[in-house]
Symmetry: C2
Subunit: 319 residues, 2 copies
Amino acid sequence: MKKFLAISGGVGGAKLGLGLTKILSEDQLSFLVNTGDDFKHAGVNISPDIDTLMYTLSGLSNQELGWGRADESWAFLDSFKTLGGESWFQLGDRDLAVHLRRTELLDSGQSLSEVTAELFSRLGVKYRCWPMSESKVSTKVYTDDSLLSFQHYFVRDHCAHEVKSIVFDGSEQAQPPQDLIEYFNDPDLAGVIICPSNPYLSIDPILSVKSIRRALACCVAPVIAISPIINGESVKGPTSKIMAELKLELSAKTVAMHYDGLINGFVLDTLDQQLVGEIEDTGCAVLVTNTMMNTLDDKTVLAQTVLEFCNNLGDLKCG
Amino acid sequence: MKKFLAISGGVGGAKLGLGLTKILSEDQLSFLVNTGDDFKHAGVNISPDIDTLMYTLSGLSNQELGWGRADESWAFLDSFKTLGGESWFQLGDRDLAVHLRRTELLDSGQSLSEVTAELFSRLGVKYRCWPMSESKVSTKVYTDDSLLSFQHYFVRDHCAHEVKSIVFDGSEQAQPPQDLIEYFNDPDLAGVIICPSNPYLSIDPILSVKSIRRALACCVAPVIAISPIINGESVKGPTSKIMAELKLELSAKTVAMHYDGLINGFVLDTLDQQLVGEIEDTGCAVLVTNTMMNTLDDKTVLAQTVLEFCNNLGDLKCG
């Protein structure tokens, strides 16, 4: 049976992830998720990207807000604020249950992989989800005059600062789950899909874990990435703002180049048709398709297209 | 200015406490509260008796439930249960904010006294409330075949077990707040009021702290206690059940005798009029009045009566 691994950051990755689950069973698909955004807040362990994927796959994500849980209420936060607690990170009552349970299980000695599997299972999601590291790796952003933790930069300060560089504290000591590394060598692995997440803030933390980067570089199965940049703009979030601040050309090609040496295939939006030649010249296969995912149908169609691309690249590799 | 100290456990103590605050200002009244029921649950520090007093004095207590906060919601607990979290201790969304904030402040290095002052102040309560100990003292109950933590006995198992004895783990090493001990020697101290709380589960933990017991025994100001037993029955909670299990006579007199050597005065309910002589024979002054506190007026009238009793006893002492 063919198996796939989806590498994901937050919302964009989870969207394609949802599409993939409409086609592949839990035996055929697993996830590797960024935990560079993880942090401790109000005494609880928060794993934003894991939760985004979990809520998306379980059907519990909040469609209106674009983050957090559906049917959310805010009594806790309202009271916490009155008590002098920080309120810039909006902890919903139901969302908080996830963080408290995660904290409780971690404190009892379980690994983040184990805790994640337990939470996914409790919410009815059977797909395996590996955190990139069992130990803490923290994405931090250098601005002109300070070093900010990711959540302070992203949520508290609404990405207002100009990013000079990004570091991943603890990546040297990162402990990727052992069975994740083994999965890269699974003879049934038919493709690794780097979802359309922010390359610098969501995918780079994962790639900063050396054994993961090495496993990806040495992977026999095709590795493809979907561009989060369409027509020179990021679909969501601060990707294009950060690219500008890092003096990078605002183009899907920049993303393809960023993954150079790791990917065999790159998926471009139809609006970026003109970039095909330039990217193919670097030795990377290119697929052009609609990459905007507004509806569930969009997600499933893109997932199907991406899987076919993987399969074709696999046939080429083996042929 | 005359000052008073009210020693309180849970609901019964808080009721009289509320009455006292209708008469005395924050310069005239402070509280000493049981923390033997404190425990860590779902990763957060819970101080049930401190919270009962805080919610009562701030007008936030839940009148219908008889515990917890008014306008409470349960989204957190509902979700926590789904995630495999324990639900026997009912953490409301707003209540949880108190526990999480307490935990956060304690983890930052503040003492329980400091944290309590901060929480009271945030909820608009200006009265000082001392925990009996900055360090952990845990009330535990020996049953026929097990040793149960207080909350397991009281909340989880609904006091179903037969109590053989009660211990206060950590009381030897207890650290009562220094300014509390000094307060007992304040020349303005005009009375110490042991509220009508469970003597065995709520007041004994406080008295198990040696320096508090000594301060009380040596206190120049009158010390009075209000019986939580009326007509051979406890007004609320398991007091009479526990007294029966400990083979104690179900009578207000038993409570008066329990405080022998510590109190100068005892307040009996009018239904227990016939006990006056027996208790007075032990050298303790007795006041008979209505001690049932259903309405705010009941509470205030009892508080006024108790304060006058204190004042009269003080005049006797000094005379």
